[in-house]
């Protein structure tokens, strides 16, 4: 039974990390209908921001907001230079962000080299929880994920900006007619979404080896999560990450991580196939 709690905590940890990545994706996709394939590279940039900042002596807890701001600015730049020209061509946004992801990843390889590097974790002491010793930093990650998701939902559902954003999600043209400045909304959405990816990269950096390929491993499960959960509602991201996160952890405990990835991806594809509007589409039926 000891390992049961350990497994549950692992599942919760992976779920919360996925949720953290998903929140940024779902904000961008929900509002702008842009499938941002560069999200994994924004994650990557967040992790490398921590690497650089820690190298010059910035304490870890300052690095996290710094990563949010830095990557948010990168997002702003990408929006200004590339995306604003192609918002009306949905397929081209997929392609352009795909090109962007290639370029960013390769730029990282050129600047930092292809090898993996380590970021020092701020908390190393394990804590006793339900009779298992568990990494205290992983618990902090869970907490951060919940807080960030909560903050995004509060903004979406309790502020006037959030109201405008939800209006844009429901019907862009109507929202525009009501005098919402869509250009400004898109710009800030993309920038905040990118910043959230950077934040998750920064938070995850101490838990994994920081290398140029680390983004892809998260962005694909995150995409499948929001599709499984249903892109129609932001809450779908939560359901999706719970399903994908916990099933991946369970299957990889049973067999191996490789089999887990194959099985979970296949299951996700089947789910998306039969429930095009995701799990949250079940309720509205």
């Amino acid at each position: 039974m000891v390992s049961f709690f350990g497994l549950a905590l692992d599942a919760l940890n992976y779920t919360s990390v996925l949720l953290l990545v998903c929140v940024g994706l779902v904000v961008i996709f929900g509002l702008m209908q842009v499938i941002n394939l560069a999200h994994g590279e924004f994650f990557l940039l967040g992790a490398y921001t921590v690497l650089v900042a820690q190298g010059v002596g910035v304490p870890f807890w300052l690095c996290v907001p710094l990563a949010f701001v830095t990557v948010g600015l990168v997002g702003l730049l990408c929006d200004a230079a590339i995306l604003r020209f192609i918002y009306d061509r949905p397929v081209d946004t997929i392609l352009a962000t795909w090109g962007l992801s290639l370029a960013i990843r390769q730029a990282i390889v050129i600047v930092f080299g292809p090898q993996s590097q380590q970021v020092a974790a701020p908390l190393t002491e394990p804590v006793q929880l339900f009779g298992v010793a568990y990494s205290s930093y992983r618990l902090v990650v869970i907490l951060i994920a919940i807080l960030v998701a909560l903050a995004v939902f509060l903004v979406l559902y309790r502020t006037s900006i959030g109201l405008a954003a939800r209006a844009a999600m429901a019907n862009r043209q109507m929202a525009q007619c009501l005098g919402i400045n869509m250009r400004r909304l898109d710009r800030s959405t993309f920038s905040v979404g990118a910043g959230l990816a950077g934040l998750s990269g920064a938070v995850m950096a101490p838990l994994m080896s920081v290398d140029p390929q680390m983004g892809m491993g998260f962005v694909l499960p995150a995409f499948l999560s929001i599709l499984v959960g249903g892109v129609g509602s932001p809450a779908g991201a939560i359901w999706g990450s719970v399903v994908i996160g916990s099933s991946t952890t369970l299957v990889s405990a049973w067999w191996t991580p490789v089999i887990a990835q194959i099985v979970v991806f296949l299951l996700a594809i089947v789910t998306i196939r039969f429930l095009p509007s995701g799990l949250s589409g079940l309720r509205s039926k």
Binding site: V91, A96, Q106, V258, Q261, I269, R273
Partner: protein, 321 residues
């Protein structure tokens, strides 16, 4: 009217006289470029005509390459170890994979086009994982010593001259086949589906079936390219089935021009040729440059750089007099 045919004819004429101009080593390299060109044409067909952006075109390419290698090495029980049979099975494998994925995604409620991209990415990742961990088909190292295709007169396709002409012949065949499909009434329906699926549906066409068929055709041609790849490089590894090659194929087709088959074909040849030269001198910067060039093409030239140059006139039955 014939003026617009000229660039197309010129390309094939130049490719046909290349054996007289190049040495054996360069000729072998050009033969390989043609194989990539076939793969780019297969994507241009499904993307430019059907409007389906496949981020996992290497899945079909790789299926063909593995089918070719397994057959010609005699690793499939009950099937004789003939390279030519292998090439046939490569086409079949690509088409079957394309058809299966299409059938799984398009029938019933169907899938939004944007999701199709993400699912093909996931499918390519799964394929790479499976081949890397499947020991019988070589695992991470892949399969070595894939035999060449035997040709009449005691030659085989490992000979640079004969190998080049063989690949060129298949490239021309693939081009003419896809062009015929594109210009047939079926191709017209396919372009209609790209523009407005619902309208074509209400005109009485069963759209899912037509899309599955298109993906099977594209998969079959990509499988042919994969089979030729396996025999000309004489090895196959998980790298030919995964995301990296899929991305490359996507870039070739986008840079050349997705709506015109020959533009994608020439795009692949030019990009890959530049890569073999420039990656030696500018090394790591090559991928950065291709990424940025890809973005620029997507934003500024949605029809590709060569699309207008190689565009052919409309089929006669669609012309207004």
């Amino acid at each position: 009217m014939t003026l617009r045919l000229l660039p197309t004819l010129a390309v094939w004429a130049v490719l046909a006289v290349l054996p007289m101009l190049l040495g054996p080593w360069e000729l072998a390299m050009f033969g390989q470029l043609l194989i990539y060109g076939i793969a780019a044409m297969s994507l241009a067909f499904i993307w430019g005509q059907g409007g389906l952006v496949s981020f996992g075109q290497a899945l079909f390419f790789g299926a063909g390459a593995y089918a070719m290698s397994l057959t010609s090495k005699g690793m499939l029980p009950g099937i004789p170890d003939s390279p030519w049979l292998g090439l046939l099975l490569a086409v079949v494998a690509g088409a079957v994979f394309g058809g299966l994925i299409g059938a799984a995604l398009f029938f019933g409620k169907g899938l939004r086009t944007a999701y199709f991209g993400i699912i093909t990415i996931a499918a390519a990742v799964i394929a790479e994982r499976v081949t890397t961990n499947w020991r019988y088909i070589g695992g991470f190292n892949g399969l070595l010593d894939v035999p060449p295709l035997p040709l009449p007169g005691g030659l085989d396709s490992a000979d640079p001259f004969a190998g080049y002409l063989l690949v060129l012949g298949f490239a021309l065949l693939a081009f003419l086949f896809l062009l015929a499909v594109e210009r047939s009434p079926y191709g017209t329906v396919l372009r209609g589906i790209r523009c407005d699926e619902r309208r074509i549906m209400s005109l009485g066409f069963f759209v899912p079936l037509w899309k599955v068929l298109a993906l099977a055709i594209s998969g079959g041609v990509a499988g042919l390219a994969g089979g030729l790849f396996a025999t000309q490089f004489s090895f196959v590894s998980p790298a030919v089935i995964g995301l990296a090659l899929s991305t490359e194929i996507l870039i070739w087709a986008a840079v050349g021009g997705k709506a015109v088959l020959l533009a994608a074909f020439v795009g692949a040849i030019i990009v890959k040729y530049m890569e073999s030269y420039l990656s030696e001198t500018i090394g790591n910067y090559w991928l950065l440059v291709t990424g940025i060039a890809f973005i620029a093409v997507v934003v500024l030239f949605p029809q590709g750089l060569l699309g207008r140059f190689f565009a052919l006139p409309q089929p006669r039955r669609l012309r207004r007099d």
